[in-house]
């Protein structure tokens, strides 16, 4: 039976796909649909909900905390992604130079990306402590400030602090991925342009950047996706406080659904993230992809 099955690659392919398909349909596709459906019900934990139509969405659109969380998420995503891109590209360019201990640097730079975010976030929490922060200590010793900074107690301070922690964690991924892209660029382009009298800045603008665009598109799509749906960092550092100033949509959905118990509302909030997510993906992917194509970078 199995022997005969092996002669038919279509049948065998189906058999090989079966475990994956069952698991992903049951625990990925079905929950995705269920989540959307839950958004239209008043489900609570341990109680099946009744269909309430657009009530949850209507409520959330008028809810000032939900509005604030959308604002926070957009600020967080845009600023952190730009910083990650600029600093990550810079680090990639540095690592691409002829350095002693190159592979050692490459390995060590990835550490923030490897360790559990929740645990490195705890280290940041300690670094941001209002009374014992070593960052404040250094700044006071240098005479730049006279009292300790309340990193996580003031709304805008807290936003900047969480963004800094997110950038810290995201730089290695961007840098190492872009470094891989840089290494595929043939040195002869740089030599040819140097002979024609191009300055390093011009080389970067007209050789490096165009050839790197396809990889930048992929990397930034992932980066935006991860930043927009970030949860752990905020949960550990601020739990959304102070005054909901750092609540992202994901943390607010968690708070409403699990400790708050209203699954319906949380699910509606999570569903509201989907359009923004799709827009972000399409923008960063096709936006950058089209530029690559215009410059003849596409196959």
């Amino acid at each position: 039976m199995f022997a005969r099955l092996q002669n038919n690659r279509h049948a065998l392919g189906m058999v090989f796909m079966l475990p994956t398909v069952v698991l992903l349909l049951g625990l990925l596709a079905y929950p995705l649909g269920l989540g959307t459906w839950l958004g239209f019900t008043d489900a609570k934990i341990g109680r099946v909900g009744e269909w309430v139509g657009l009530d949850n969405f209507r409520y959330l659109v008028g809810d000032s905390v939900a509005q604030l969380s959308l604002f926070n998420t957009l600020v967080y995503t845009v600023i952190a992604s730009i910083l990650k891109f600029v600093l990550g590209l810079w680090l990639a360019l540095l690592l691409n130079k002829n350095l002693p201990f190159k592979s050692f640097f490459r390995a060590i730079v990835l550490l923030p990306w490897i360790v559990p975010t929740a645990l490195s976030a705890i280290a940041f929490w300690w670094l941001y402590d209002a009374q014992f922060s070593v960052l404040s200590w250094v700044l006071t010793q240098m005479g730049l400030i006279d009292q300790y900074i309340d990193f996580l107690g003031d709304p805008w301070n807290a936003r900047w602090s969480t963004i800094a922690a997110n950038v810290w964690r995201g730089i290695p991924f961007v840098a190492i991925s872009l470094l891989a892209g840089l290494q595929t660029i043939s040195p002869s382009y740089y030599e040819a342009s140097a002979i024609d009298g191009a300055t390093p800045a011009q080389q970067f603008r007209h050789v490096t950047l165009p050839l790197l665009t396809p990889i930048i598109a992929v990397v930034m799509t992932f980066s935006v996706l991860f930043t927009f749906t970030d949860f752990q960092l905020i949960y550990v550092l601020t739990r959304g406080g102070p005054l909901n100033a750092t609540h992202l949509m994901a943390t607010l959905a968690f708070q409403r659904a699990i400790p708050g118990g209203s699954l319906g509302e949380g699910a509606a909030l999570a569903t509201l993230m989907v359009p923004f997510l799709l827009a972000a993906i399409l923008f960063s992917y096709f936006g950058l992809q089209r530029r690559a194509w215009q410059q003849g970078g596409d196959k």
Binding site: L27, L32, N96, V115, Q232, F254
Partner: protein, 292 residues
């Protein structure tokens, strides 16, 4: 000659730059990057070994420990549930990694090599599945886990982690399988090998680097997972390290920074340790999956 060759390939025309210029343009910025990226880890280590008086003292040099102590680690290992969390994390990570790799090998081989009808859309679907973030899935998944009666068990995590591990591993392995020449498989087919024999005896041995990358990635991803572990588990003895440290070690208003940092440090060490052995696999896997 060979030295010249080396320079040509390694750093392009960097050797044309003067030494002072290289310091300003390269070494100093790189030093700052490395310092900032590593400082939180240094701070973790220092805090772990600092006695409480030094932690709360405002005078003295905070960057060094004068009387290192193991009290925080001792407290963590013998007076909290930390060892149990470590054990849970190991069990959950290893099981879900093994399951995911097996599923992913079969799926990747079917999509990439058997090319059954619908293999192309299946490949795209796998990629899209990887893009679904856990933070929009955890609420409905929680209600499914609850209905399956798995709430507050390790099984809840073991079945839910593959939802993000399988798409990732399949995608990564598809790339590896693609790089193995078709001719090898054709030769084996002519010699009368079955597809199963080809997979086990030819493809898998050749794909060992890919399997290692996929395994390390899957293990790190499940070790670091937070939102599912936070939502699906509520008893202390079933928590994983990241969730346990964040939810159980923080008591009231007095933070025990020493043991918190010790918990963070010990929880980071296993992944850092595994990573240090397989850096090259890790980096090549990461860049390989991005290049696709």
């Amino acid at each position: 000659m060979s030295d010249n060759q080396d320079k040509q390939q390694g750093g392009g025309m960097d050797y044309l730059q003067s030494l002072p210029r290289r310091w300003v343009v390269t070494y100093i910025p790189l030093g700052i990057f490395v310092f900032v990226l590593l400082f939180p880890f240094y701070w973790m280590v220092i805090t772990t070994f600092k006695p409480n008086e030094e932690l709360l003292a405002r005078d003295g040099n905070p960057f060094w420990v004068s009387n290192p102590t193991l009290a925080h680690i001792e407290k963590l290992l013998f007076h909290t549930a930390y060892p149990e969390w470590l054990w849970n994390t190991v069990v959950v990570s290893v099981t879900s990694t093994v399951v995911s790799i097996v599923f992913a090998v079969l799926a990747a081989y079917a999509i990439e090599r058997l090319r059954f009808q619908g293999a192309k859309p299946a490949g795209v679907a796998i990629f899209l599945a990887y893009l679904v973030p856990p933070s929009i899935l955890f609420i409905p998944l929680a209600s499914i886990i609850f209905e399956l009666g798995l709430f507050d068990t390790r099984m809840a995590l073991i079945v839910s982690y593959p939802t993000f591990l399988i798409p990732f591993c399949t995608w990564l392995l598809m790339g590896y399988f693609r790089s193995i020449p078709f001719e090898l498989e054709e030769c084996a087919l002519i010699d009368g090998a079955t597809r199963w024999q080809i997979l086990v005896k030819i493809i898998l041995p050749l794909a060992v680097p890919g399997l290692i990358s996929a395994g390390i990635f899957a293990f790190t991803l499940s070790w670091n997972e937070f939102i599912y572990a936070l939502t699906f588990v509520s008893s202390s003895e079933i928590k994983t390290v990241p969730v346990g440290v964040v939810t159980e070690l923080v008591e009231g208003d007095v933070y025990h920074w020493g043991s918190l940092m010790a918990g963070a440090l010990l929880g980071s060490l296993p992944v850092a340790f595994i990573y240090s052995f397989f850096v090259e696999h890790y980096v090549s896997g990461m860049t390989g999956s991005v290049k696709e």
